[in-house]
């Protein structure tokens, strides 16, 4: 009996992982079928209907996969930041990564640079901001979660002020695009290889450190005494988390909510063991963003809504429901 408990537990976790994989596939199928040209599921398997083929494989599939990759990147990065900062309120943007990206992306828009400058600028801005936080928080050698958090939050609010300033002086023609970028927008999202590839690499690297991440959640000293090289681990998580965020931001703008809420929701379902939390978060984050983006481009068609609005509209009630349920269970 006592031994069955773990076997049952492992089995149930595999089932949950499979269920989320199913959800991810389902969300991508839904994204392929929904849109201004209605397709039915048979179209997915027909090779020679050229128009639907073009819509499917040149428009909808790349966009769905881009959304999936971005969602996975944000969810993974959120899970990493929460354990790095030992703070359940942490999200991928808490260290100012998105702020730096936003300032650069908006700057590129205002200077009317070629459109490819927006993602490239966002990536450079996010990386510079990350580097700045890293250097400032690292200066005296001691590296406390609080100091890292305060450094990041302060820098983020600085970027926030810079963003407000840029919005207030921006010409009207740029304003709409800038606001969409800030709310998160996948309508230019055509980097499925980058987003999904980065998410896969990030997941593999993070998963290799999953057991150490579990220990880091107990605090610096506890983790070290249980055999973790904490300094090395923190550096890896920091660079990995920030790097994934920078890529997500450069592809889809500052899409909110996914990175904060998905890790929490997944923890309620599968527990806080990162060996399971990480892959399930990646699948759940990806699926949520694919669904949200599908709604964003179909709900008010031909008008496109910013995907960040929809992630919140779907995510907030879902998360509140899970939170209520977990409280009831605990009582």
């Amino acid at each position: 009996m006592a031994h069955d408990f773990t076997a049952v537990k492992v089995l149930s976790r595999w089932l949950i992982l499979l269920a989320f994989a199913g959800l991810a596939v389902g969300s991508i199928a839904a994204a392929l079928l929904a849109g201004s040209v209605d397709l039915v599921w048979q179209d997915l398997f027909v090779a020679d209907r050229t128009q639907s083929n073009a819509i499917l494989f040149q428009l909808r599939l790349p966009r769905a996969l881009t959304a999936f990759g971005c969602g996975a990147l944000l969810a993974l990065s959120g899970a990493l930041m929460q354990v790095l900062l030992r703070n359940p309120l942490a999200d991928p943007y808490i260290l100012g990564v998105s702020g730096g990206g936003a300032v650069a992306a908006l700057g590129a828009t205002m200077l009317s640079l070629a459109s490819w400058w927006i993602p490239v600028g966002a990536f450079i801005g996010a990386s510079l901001s990350t580097l700045l936080v890293f250097l400032l928080a690292h200066r005296q050698g001691v590296w406390s979660a609080e100091r890292l958090l305060l450094t990041g939050v302060t820098l983020a609010s600085g970027w926030g002020a810079a963003i407000s300033f840029m919005l207030s002086i921006a010409p009207d023609r740029d304003l709409r695009g800038m606001i969409f970028w800030l709310m998160g927008d996948l309508s230019h999202g055509d980097s499925p290889t980058l987003a999904c590839g980065a998410a896969l690499v990030g997941l593999i690297v993070a998963r290799l450190h999953a057991r150490e991440l579990n220990l880091l959640g107990r605090g610096e000293a506890a983790a070290a005494s249980l055999g973790v090289e904490t300094r090395r681990l923190r550096n890896i998580i920091f660079i990995l988390g920030a790097g994934m965020t920078a890529i997500a931001v450069s592809v889809g703008g500052a899409i909110g909510f996914v990175g904060l809420v998905i890790p929490h929701a997944v923890r309620m379902v599968i527990g806080s063991d990162h060996r399971w939390l990480l892959p399930v978060s990646a699948l759940a984050g990806g699926a949520l963003l694919v669904l949200a983006d599908t709604v964003a481009r179909t709900a008010a068609a031909p008008q496109q809504l910013p995907v960040g609005v929809i992630t919140a509209l779907i995510g907030v009630p879902l998360f509140l429901f899970l939170l209520q349920r977990s409280y009831r269970r605990a009582c």
Binding site: A2, H3, F5, T6, Q82, V83, R86, N87, P88, L208, R211, E212, N214, L215, G217, R218, G219, A221, A222, A224, S225, L226, G227, V228, E229, T230, R267, G271, S272, D273, A330
Partner: protein, 253 residues
């Protein structure tokens, strides 16, 4: 073997130790005594390699701490910290299983053997039957017992215990120290425990380390140091040793 060579440690303005030399051998159960703020925790953290000494060396099996990779060190030396703080709750069994981390490489998963060791440790701390319970519903004493069980799961030869019986009821105080003493008296383990209960220290420990506020540390066998004069001087409070047929009892004045 745990060896300390001319160790100097100070924190803020407090001198914890100055040119301190010390050797602990298997079979020795040390009680670390001292007033609040005398640096007991700081000293233990230094011995565990969690903070740097101002000068001097700590050696585990004749090798300085700095030369030990963390994982290899964790197989030899473990510390029970004063507080445990887990941001994300997990079931008891999983939480205690973390003690096996140092015994697994990056690619390994916990084996049935690891689970057995963990269950055994939980049983020893009378937490069996609650493996599935979440850590955030535990009481202070239960959390302490879980931390002890995790240390036993880690099973290092050198155990540093920072107030191991804090929050425990009398039964579990004795039970916890018995568990440590059983390992030490096998002649395989070393334990250093910060204690404030002199009677339990007298009952379980065969060595005493006294941290005076001025950074002076006295070490020696229990009979030599657990005297009314030494204790009264250490705590700056009158303490009487009442001799009985079952040994001495300590009563605060």
């Amino acid at each position: 073997m745990l060896e300390v060579k001319s160790l100097t440690v100070s924190v803020a303005s407090q001198q914890v130790c100055n040119n301190f030399n010390f050797i602990a051998r298997p079979g020795e159960f040390w009680a670390v005594l001292g007033r609040n703020g005398s640096g007991k925790t700081t000293l233990l953290h230094t011995l565990a390699g969690l903070r740097k000494a101002n000068a001097g060396q700590v050696l585990v099996d004749n090798k300085p701490l700095s030369a030990w990779p963390r994982r290899a060190l964790a197989q030899q030396l473990g510390i029970l910290l004063q507080d445990s703080e887990d941001v994300f709750p997990s079931p008891l069994l999983e939480s205690a299983l973390a003690g096996r981390h140092a015994h697994l490489n990056r690619w390994q998963e916990e084996s049935a053997e690891d689970l057995n060791i963990t269950r055994q440790a939980l049983k020893e701390m009378e937490l069996n039957g609650r493996e599935n319970l979440s850590t955030h519903v535990l009481s202070g004493g239960e959390r302490r017992r879980l931390a002890l069980a995790t240390l036993f799961t880690q099973s290092p030869n050198i155990m540093l215990l920072d107030e191991p019986i804090n929050h425990l009821d009398v039964h579990h105080q004795v039970r916890a120290l018995e568990s440590v003493a059983r390992r030490v008296h096998d002649g395989t383990h070393i334990a250093l425990a910060v204690l404030h209960d002199l009677n339990l220290a007298a009952r379980f420990c065969n060595r005493i380390m006294m941290l005076h506020d001025d950074g002076n540390i006295l070490t020696g066998p229990t009979e030599a140091l657990l005297t009314s004069e030494q204790l009264s001087q250490l705590y700056r409070h009158p303490i009487h040793a009442v001799k009985t047929a079952h040994g001495a009892y300590y009563v605060m004045g």
